[in-house]
Symmetry: C2
Subunit: 631 residues, 2 copies
């Protein structure tokens, strides 16, 4: 094992995403707030396209990345300037925080060298939640940042905005005041613990862009703290808006410290996991005191939102016993077991106001866990699920009484015709608090493809109003996702979230689709790659059959070849139409000859290119396939 | 090049799909019709599950497969018994049929050794379409086959049928009379050319299971006739209900012969592709005579449905000139060019009744092509698209006047909020003729993942009423799909089609989901793999982290490990609940101790298994991920 006192060698992926550069846009308010975005420059004099950027300093070539030091504290000044926080001595880290790690730390991971020993908390009687400020009418720098970020630097509305928003109130242009109002109403949250000043503010709410979450978790062997940090950086590179650290087993505390100090996105956790480790994995041995201690421990480290399964109440447990797949939430099953073993009401439910007191002292947002969500198509939308949902609605209002931010977790496994009922009931039961769903999977018969079965449900429920989508990878239900699975999961959910933004009519959404479509029609291949969610994969697929540089400007690809490229023919059709006099077509014969000549020439060039390709690849070139090919 | 007279060595994938066996179910009518299905046997005394089987004799270990001979002629007797067909001398194959292939056949592929020289056609004055029989009140063996096949061998309705069918008329139980009635009304088609007697009858219609199509196409080098046949067999193995041969370039005729003679599923083509090759690729040189000759050529070979772009009319072409991406249908752009160059109405439109005369003499179904479908989100649901759709509706009625079967092709690229309008307008314009859509893709920003962007749209439009979904592979818009891409495309569309069946409330649909969910909850891993759409991938993913045979019965997987498996805890919760007296819980303390002991034991075994895994894989084991893990 590496010497725990020497700095850790952690390799993370840095540098710009291909074809784009980091830009910082100053907030219109002149407050000095600068918002990170990604700008994609295009060829042929096309205007560049700005896209939402979750990747943090890692994609900025001018940023010095030092994993052992952590990221710069973007928000520290903003927090201190409010004058409502105090520094104090952090709770001592104990052996049970890292799975009974002894003083010799054998089996432990290296400790983060730059840990904050004096965290911040609200001064006595103060409330530092963004919701509290919003309700006082205060527009914070965090709210300004969110407003600029959601607009993607647009000065005015998109011309051709369309959509069906199912009652959402998406503005033409997001102002800081709009953000404040949404947070004040509880329709959006800005999760950012005052002890995570490295985070770039982002909003989760039905009237903002749909967000996605990626899950990572700690490893059972010491050296893997590096791979967890790498996985976090990798997932935000491809678009994860928040990351949940679902660590279990050993080294939970230390691994989390490495992740938070290096994360520019909000970090969520499920504190019951660590609490369970502290009692040796025996659910019945959990107590309020141990749970409370875990909340403080994680609050001081800077966790931005907590999943709390306070809706799993004793009377609901027997409802789940009738199910096909029982309780599929780990936190939910742990609490159900505790309730039954003690035949007591859940301490999470009974102590809810005390938990809220802690949340508001650090500005931690609730992610009220759906411990009784269905785990199969058969169990979807059943009694247990909705009984819990209405309890979560009751708890939402209790949290709001103390101005604490709340989002609500949702399923799971739901066939398409039952998805909307989930959204409608959640809006009604929880007063429009943001919905945060896992998929849902629309069928159970495709293990190995559950990023897709769930992506279908995610796109739909995102359209209906879900604010954040928790990703699912191809390994779901089967095993451990690796780095590649994480990327596939993130990109799949990013496209689902974007499809939802388009369908809702978010003004910022269609700009990128239009730019890519235009590049496609004009055969600007590099622009197509650069505008896509995953430029590397797009180019790699293209180059498998047409690797030559010349093919990057060719007016065809290997799917159809030069003679059968409908886009090429279509451009000729457009030329015809342009040249034709609307009430006389005498010229058509000339047009025909002219064009045949053009075409013969292009086809000749094309065929030469293709024959080179045959030699290179020895593969088929005219297979018909999909859009340009089916017919 | 291989000696064209020696039999071709063609390797195709044969043998049962893992965990299942081929069964033949005799039709209830006692007519002797036997329907192929796939039966998945389960462990633990669970009843076996029957699933729809498109794979033909290739998955029957008792079938002798000889690619050089072709498949047995399942339908030959049925066709001859009707007494309305005659044999005649086939049209001579000409050099232009294979791309100006000379008499020495240099550059040609081997000819299929077992070609039928005397094809069938309707006797003078006869109409051999299934629609014609249906309208005479005749129930054909083809209709009986379809009825049995759609029921998946069920004797009665599913107990817990639910769904939202958007006005479809899905019966509890499919009878031959129901099939006849649907075909007579034009709400379903059974595409099976009398010269393709090898095909197993299947129905495409809104009130039947949603079907999927896979595209293949011929290769530019001779030896690849083998890979095309292999690709056809590969795609039906994973669930393609029909296959389109989109061959262009050389060897079109010969390649198609190999495919049809070995295909148990209907084969579709786009005849304009071959016609264009016959005129050297110059659209303006196309004539009705050359097109007609091509229809006869393909009719005699046994093509089951033709994509005909008869809706691309001269007046609509200027509408497309305004678009972001013009015309993205190859056939559509070819016809648009022809219309403009000649300034004439399309000969496909003007000669439509003559085309229909040919269709009814062989029972070829129309797939009326959407030559003006949108190629981008920007162009979705525009004037050009719907102008063509209403023309397709007009042509549908003309085809029905001659009792010829029709389906209608649909988009393409459509954001989610505009998908339903496509379905609603199609139902209205085309009198409920089956809709056959390509995706649609719900966003344009994810090249490399367009099987997913389109799978999202496909699941939705399938739910709304689309009868068949044309697959899209990950290579869409970028290049040539390989064998792996074909499988990913087929499985993605199979899960989308199944999700649609579930949401529509098809009585046969949920049985498989429930069986898999139950297997999951009971940790019958092998059953989970075998019940899935792709058992090989499911097991491979599982075994990447838990390869040991013992893990196939372990009560956890590597996602959560033994202590955090919610399903395991949930089963304990169920045991608690079962043992608890509903009005007294005196026993709870004992239950608790008992269970802690059980758990400690299971955890111990579990950890031993896990530690073996660490050594084997050296990989992380507790990463949290998705459904059982997020919380």
């Amino acid at each position: 094992m590496a010497d725990i006192n020497s700095p850790v060698e952690i390799g993370v992926t840095t540098g710009p995403i291909r074809g784009s550069r980091k830009v910082y846009v100053a907030a219109r308010t002149g407050s000095g707030v600068r918002v990170a975005m990604r700008e994609i420059d295009l060829e042929g004099g096309e205007p560049s396209v700005r896209v939402y950027d979750t990747s943090g300093p890692y994609t900025d070539p001018n940023a010095a990345i030092d994993i052992n030091a952590g990221l710069p504290q973007l928000r520290r000044e903003w927090i201190m300037a409010r004058g409502d926080v105090e520094e104090y001595d952090a709770r001592e880290v104990r052996p049970e925080d890292n799975g009974q790690l002894g003083p010799d730390r054998s089996g432990g991971v290296p400790q983060f060298p730059n840990t904050v020993r004096r965290p911040l908390r609200a001064k006595a009687g103060q409330n530092v939640s963004q919701m509290h400020y919003a309700r006082q009418g205060i527009i914070t720098p965090e709210m300004e940042y969110v407003a600029e970020r959601e607009n993607l630097g647009r000065e005015q509305i998109a011309k051709d905005r369309e959509g069906q928003s199912w009652g959402a109130a998406i503005p033409e242009f997001v102002t800081p005041e709009f953000v404040r109002d949404e947070v004040a109403r509880g329709r959006a949250i800005i999760p950012n613990n005052i002890n995570h000043p490295e985070s770039e503010p982002m909003a989760i709410g039905r009237n903002f862009l749909v967000k996605i979450n990626a899950n990572i978790g700690n490893s059972a062997v010491a050296s893997d703290v590096a791979s967890e940090v790498d996985k976090m950086v990798w997932s935000i590179r491809w678009g994860a808006d928040t990351v949940m650290d679902l660590s279990t087993g050993r080294n939970i505390h230390d691994t989390r410290e490495w992740i938070i100090r290096n994360s520019p996105v909000p970090i969520g956790t499920v504190p019951i996991y660590q609490a369970l480790e502290k009692v040796g994995g025996i659910a019945e041995d959990l107590t309020w005191e141990i749970f409370r201690d875990t909340l403080i421990e994680q609050a001081e480290q800077g966790v931005d939102y907590f999943t709390i399964h306070a809706g799993v109440r004793l009377p609901y447990v027997p409802m789940a016993a009738k199910r096909m797949t029982g309780i599929v939430s780990r936190g939910g099953s742990i609490m159900a077991k505790w309730c039954l073993a003690h035949h007591k009401e859940s301490f999470l439910y009974e102590r809810f106001d005390e938990i809220t007191e802690i949340m508001k002292a650090y500005d931690i947002a609730y992610s009220l866990g759906d411990g009784l969500r269905p785990g199969s198509i058969y169990d979807a939308n059943d009694e247990a699920q909705f009984a819990e949902l209405y309890t979560l609605g009751e708890l939402t209002k209790k949290a709001w009484e103390q101005d604490v931010q709340v989002m609500i977790e949702g399923p799971g496994h739901v066939p398409m015709h039952k998805i909307k009922e989930n959204m409608d009931k959640q809006l009604e039961a929880c007063g429009e608090a943001p919905f945060y769903t896992l998929g849902p999977l629309v069928t159970d018969i495709a293990p190995g493809y559950d990023h897709i079965t769930s992506g279908i449900g995610a796109a739909q429920i995102g359209w209906y109003g879900t604010a954040m989508l928790c990703y699912v990878t191809p390994k779901e239900h089967l095993g451990l996702p690796d780095r590649d699975d994480v990327k596939v999961g993130v990109v799949t959910y990013k496209l689902a979230a974007h499809a939802a933004d388009l369908a809702k009519g978010h003004p910022a959404a269609q700009v990128r689709d239009d730019a890519l479509s235009k590049a496609r029609f004009e055969f600007r291949w590099r622009d197509q790659f650069n505008l896509s969610l995953d430029p590397d994969t797009a180019e790699q697929y293209h180059d498998q059959t047409l690797p030559a540089e010349g093919a990057k400007t060719a007016h065809f690809c290997s799917m159809c070849g030069p003679k059968f490229c409908s886009m090429k023919i279509s451009q000729e059709v457009r030329d015809f139409a342009a040249r034709q006099n609307s009430d006389s077509y005498l010229a058509s014969e000339n047009i025909r000859r002219e064009t045949s000549a053009e075409e013969a020439e292009e086809a000749r060039e094309g065929m030469e290119e293709m024959s080179r390709v045959y030699e290179q690849s020895g593969r088929e070139l005219y297979i018909g396939q999909g859009d340009r090919e089916r017919d």
